[in-house]
């Protein structure tokens, strides 16, 4: 995949999915340390259940999103350059030509083509933002998980040093850790939902296309972007192009 160079974990062409599993392994490993530190109270098994059901399925590779952000940014540049290039060439043409071919082509370029290209540019810019924010959410979730879990491991080990083995002390550590972890995952879900809907980075990207191009069954109606037949016919006729003197 173009958006994933995979780094040292690049073992195959499908390294993007593999990197997610690398991150999950690290999370599982950290969770295992916590389980060991909490046992034999039974609290370790409770932590394992939360880890398996709630944490691991939500761990993904942040690099996928940072790479995607970079790719969208490059696409922004491509469309930006196209807008500048065609604006200039069309203006230079229209300074020299008149009659119905020149006029209808110039009208189509300014009324439709450049505007559609500008919408594509805007949509790519917003996709870049959305992917950057997604990477931030994924990374902060990982950081919050590791921070809470390492804290719990240290607390559980400290309770061993404090005297005879105490299941109550282990359960107390679990009692602090578990709500924090559930809150971290809940915050992640809320942040992603906000990003793609309420906060409207993605919604704006969709609107950027929809407002100029149109929508059909909740999807962008690309079929509405076409060269009108009368324009196509007139620009092909030599005698409809007349030089400005």
């Amino acid at each position: 995949m173009a958006w994933d160079d995979g780094g040292i974990f690049d073992l195959s062409a499908e390294s993007d999915a593999r990197d997610t599993w690398v991150w999950r392994s690290v999370v599982i490993g950290t969770g295992a340390l916590l389980i060991v530190a909490l046992e034999p109270s039974g609290a370790g098994m409770a932590a394992a259940a939360i880890g398996t059901a709630v944490v691991v399925p939500n761990v993904v590779d942040p690099e996928v999103w940072t790479s995607a952000s970079g790719e969208w940014s490059e696409l922004f540049n491509v469309f930006d350059a196209a807008v500048a290039d065609l604006t200039e060439a069309d203006a230079a043409m229209f300074a020299q030509w008149k009659d119905s071919a020149a006029e209808s082509f110039h009208g189509f370029v300014n009324g439709t083509l450049l505007q559609v290209l500008a919408r594509l540019r805007e949509a790519c810019n917003l996709m870049d933002d959305a992917c950057t924010q997604m990477a931030i959410v994924v990374i902060s979730t990982l950081v919050a998980y590791f921070s809470a879990t390492v804290g719990a491991i240290v607390a559980a080990l400290a309770s061993n040093a404090g005297g005879p083995f105490s299941p109550a002390a282990k359960w107390a550590v679990f009692g602090v850790w578990a709500p924090v972890i559930l809150a971290v995952i809940a915050a992640m879900v809320a942040a992603v939902a906000t990003l793609w809907t309420t906060n409207k980075t993605l919604g704006d990207a969709f609107d950027a296309l929809k407002n100029k191009i149109g929508e059909k069954d909740g999807r962008i109606d690309a079929a509405s972007v076409r060269l009108p037949e009368p324009v196509k016919a007139v620009i092909s006729r030599y005698d409809e192009w007349e030089k400005k003197s």
Partner: protein, 100 residues
Amino acid sequence: MTSVQTEALRDLATRLTAQSDALSGNTRATVAALAMPKEAYPLFSLAAWDDYEKVRSGIENVTIAVQDILETTGTALTRVAAHYEQMEQEHSESFTYDNG
């Protein structure tokens, strides 16, 4: 010699074709490759997959439509520019169709 008018028309035709080529090659492939696998999403946020894909596929389809327009207009204007180049060679640089 070619007139400044015909040069401007030829230049526009060339750029339309060049932009069409750029969109049909790299750009289209990049937009297609930006389709995210479901594994890229946290499981509890999987609903976002469709939101993202709706925009990405919209960009992809519109890019294809724009590329088609650039190709068609580039070809049409190239023919007109070639015609004027030939007419100017046969007649004079000031050759034009005067429609009043």
